[in-house]
Amino acid sequence: MNQLNLDHATASAVFNKNEPRVDWHDETLWFVRAKRDRAAALIPEWEDLREAASQIKNHVLSNMHDLLVQFEENARKNGIHVHWAANADEHNDIVLGIIQKTGANRMVKSKSMLTEECHMNNFLTSHGIEVIDSDLGERIVQMRKEPPSHIVLPAIHLTRADVGETFHEHLGTEKGATDPQYLTEAARQHLRDTFLTRKVALTGVNFAIAETGGFVVCTNEGNADMGAHLADVHIAAMGFEKIIPRAEHLGVFLRLLARSATGQPITAFSSHFHKPRPGQEMHLIIVDNGRSRQLGRTEFRNSLKCIRCAACMNTCPVYRRSGGHSYHSAVAGPIGSILAPNLDMKLNADLPFASTLCGSCSNVCPVKIDIHDQLYKWRQVLMREGYGTTGKGAAMKAMATVLESPRLYRMAGKIGRGVLRFSPAVAENRFNPWFNQREMPAPPSESFRDWYVKNKKS
């Protein structure tokens, strides 16, 4: 079933129909969270490192214009072609233009959530350009015509058996094979051929350094490097918030990124690109796509501090039990839920409600984004702007009328308890979502206030 057209609650209900799979998904991601805890605990200055990262990013948000201009100037000096894209369409057009100019009709791409956000693959395919994702997880979901369900682990919703089945269909591996070594080898051979034959490679950007005009791409598979080093044309695409002021700041972010993401001390490949090698063309596309608007929202701007480690997803008890696709957005989980409403309030009005506001996300976040507070604030904005249902608005008004009046509150409490005591079927039925998997609390004959007035007030 395609979860992407459903709201979060409905899609999660579908996901939860297979409880053993939910348990497996939850435990797999909890394992990553636990690995993150162990890695972070080994750094005595962990909390100071988070504070430093947070302050550098705050500085970036307050000096965005100057840093971007400085970066562009230095990148151009290095021989990089710099492009600016106001939105997803402009980004996609720029990529298409670069590819068409080379005469190529296919491209290899390492992981880039930005291109997912821009729906670039579909766009290029519709213009006759074949795109092959070279990140193993992304390649798997691409074969299945699914979007990634997690920004660091794109195929985390799939079991080994699922992957075996997909590879059997697309790569001709043996039917029923689940051995990771065997399956990975098949993918490796397939991708090796891709790397050797593509003239254009696209990569994402983890950090762009204003001071040097260079950028850093982090991968665990070396696939960004394989693509970029073998291609005649390297295109790198970045959301403008990826900028950091100085190269020395990498010492803060690279230490936090991999530990927060997977519990590794550092990503296997942290590749620094500064200029095209002789004979190569290097393009860098700096994308806005709603980021300026978010930067202008006082309450939500610091969501742009995000370094895409996904620690908030791994820790989120809701994400672990609803799966990435239930968020119907390129970036899922808590961070996705505060970014997506900026892109489209109507389409994403459900996401800030897909949370218990437990606060784990904000405290695991390596750059200290107040994610759960922003979820609360988005709820206010979305309801104020009229993206709630009429029924919900009316129910809330009725609830407020009762709860703000001591007399009505006491009366409703008394009647409610009476009804529950003598006609429990009023609440204990299939129309009450609480009762579906939980018993109702036993209603007492008197409230605390009743008791207090009787026993304490003289």
């Binding site: 703000e404 979502p433 018993e439």
Partner: protein, 244 residues
Amino acid sequence: MKVGLFIPCYIDQFYPHVAIATLKLLESVGCEVDYPLQQTCCGQPMANSGFENLAGGCNENFVRNFSGYDYIVSPSGSCTLHIKDHLHATNESEATTIRSRMYELTEFLTDVVNVSSLNATFPYRVGLHQSCHGQRGLGLAQMTERMLPPFSKPVQLLNLVDGLELVQLDRRDECCGFGGTFCVTEEAVSAKMGKDRVADHLRHGVNYITGVDVSCLMHMEGILKRSNSNVQIKHIAEILTATV
């Protein structure tokens, strides 16, 4: 010291014995406790649903009821946090004073009353549910996300109870999935979270699950009862006042 007792609406209506235990506990440590009779709700149900603008009436009523106390104490981390973070009123200076005098029960006992002994006995295996708003919001205990020295105000108090055996859980501070209206609007995930949380306690052979928030306990109670478990929930105030 004059203490105003705030009993959240659902405790008043469904768990009066928790409120009675809270009152007894506060009196037993020497507080002069008053329960303002016109109190209702902190307004959180509307606010967390995105209708903060409809919580104004509750806010005004709260300020009317709780002005003039040295401390306002409540047996709920979640409602306490909501007042501390979001109480605003026409008389904003009064609202500000109230916000600064608002305490959850266990932090009031450890930080203000400095309780060092209790006359309580509870000879059972107990699992502590660390409610998120109390733990992460009010800082009642160190959370596992942060790499900082551990502490826990509820545990500090439970350690004063004779015979009580506190069990270690596999996931020390995972959310139970109650989440206010989340428990019905996201029923599937909410119930699954609750089942998983309860299972952790059951794996460790608890007799009772306790915590500082009745809302989380009510959620887990609903799941325990549905599976016909004989494990029961007890608010921490009930345990801290328990005698054999």
